[in-house]
């Protein structure tokens, strides 16, 4: 167990360092051989070739939030489902399975509600 996590820890460290190496190399390259040349236009925001205006404040629509909301609820649901999954059908009696189904049903009901309310409609 601790071996697994040790490996993961080291892997995490290496994975963090890994992208830094080429980025560092690229930085070195830019320092020595091919100087980066910033410029007004070059560093402007790309806008299909048009002159970019000020950075835009985009007002988003609420449906992004609604999707995230529904997702959150079902995500939590899967959190409770996973321990059952680890038990497997073999260890779950039919009655137990039915009670899980009840749990699911309550959530599916909310999905149906969301569907009917048009929350799943992208606007």
């Amino acid at each position: 167990m601790s071996y697994d996590y040790l490996l993961l820890t080291i892997f995490l460290a290496i994975a963090l360092i890994f992208p830094l190496v080429p980025l560092g190399l690229a930085w070195l390259w830019a320092r020595t051989l091919s100087p980066a040349k910033p410029g007004h236009d070059k560093q402007a925001t790309y806008e299909c070739g048009l002159e970019s205006e000020k950075p835009v404040q985009i007002q988003f629509q609420a449906h992004y939030y609604l999707y995230a909301l529904v997702f959150l609820v079902f995500d939590v649901e899967t959190v409770f489902l996973l321990p059952f999954a680890a038990m497997g059908f073999v260890n779950i009696p039919v009655v137990g399975f039915l009670s899980i189904m009840l749990f699911l049903l309550l959530l599916v009901e909310s999905l149906v509600w969301a569907w009917a309310k048009g929350i799943l409609e992208w606007k």
Partner: protein
């Protein structure tokens, strides 16, 4: 040289992983600190995410791997996104347009901030005092045990002992979904 090497490898390195949990703890605290201090809301939310990740890792390091992953899944995957979306949905651009000059008075805000900080500090001091110096702190604590929270056992526990809370959670979640959706849903324009 050789001896030094020998000495170094003879150190109790095997024990080291036990204390590795300090790394995520540190990251977590830094993240939380940044989340509280930074001005840019998105940065705050990102630091909060970092802090949550570290917290999840900390759970794992303490042997509660399932809870740790659940923390990652729920907080990083969903809650963080929810917070980010919420921030983007509520641009703070017009906040300054408060028409009450007193509200905008810097001094009052600084005062409030100082007060809040004092309260937080007091709480911290008393908590730390309780942890380290209260009589209970000297009570015998059983030694840390090997991680023992197999997912299967959690499942059995859920099925056998906490079935009712589980259904209650389902109802709660449904209610939360409906409530939040109704709140966040845009009213039809005319």
């Amino acid at each position: 040289m050789h001896e030094l090497f020998q000495k170094i490898i003879a150190l109790p390195w095997d024990q080291a992983p036990q204390w590795l949990f300090l790394i995520p703890a540190f990251v977590m605290l830094m993240g939380a600190a940044a989340a509280v201090m930074l001005r840019n809301l998105i940065h705050c939310a990102l630091c909060l995410t970092l802090s949550f990740i570290a917290l999840g890792v900390l759970f794992m390091a303490l042997g509660a791997e399932f809870v740790g992953f659940v923390q990652l899944l729920v907080y990083v995957g969903a809650v963080a996104m929810l917070i980010l979306f919420a921030i983007l949905l509520t641009p703070a651009g017009e906040v300054a347009a408060s028409n009450n000059p007193l509200r905008n008075f810097k001094f009052s805000r600084a005062f409030a901030a100082a007060g809040g900080a004092t309260v937080a500090l007091l709480v911290l001091v008393s908590l730390l005092g309780a942890i380290f110096f209260s009589p209970h702190a000297r009570a015998v604590v059983p030694p840390a045990q090997a991680a023992i929270a197999p997912v299967k056992a959690i499942g059995e526990n859920l099925l056998n002992h906490t079935l009712l809370p589980l259904q209650a959670t389902a109802i709660l979640l449904t209610a939360a979904l409906i409530g939040a959706a109704l709140l966040a849903k845009e009213e039809k324009k005319s």
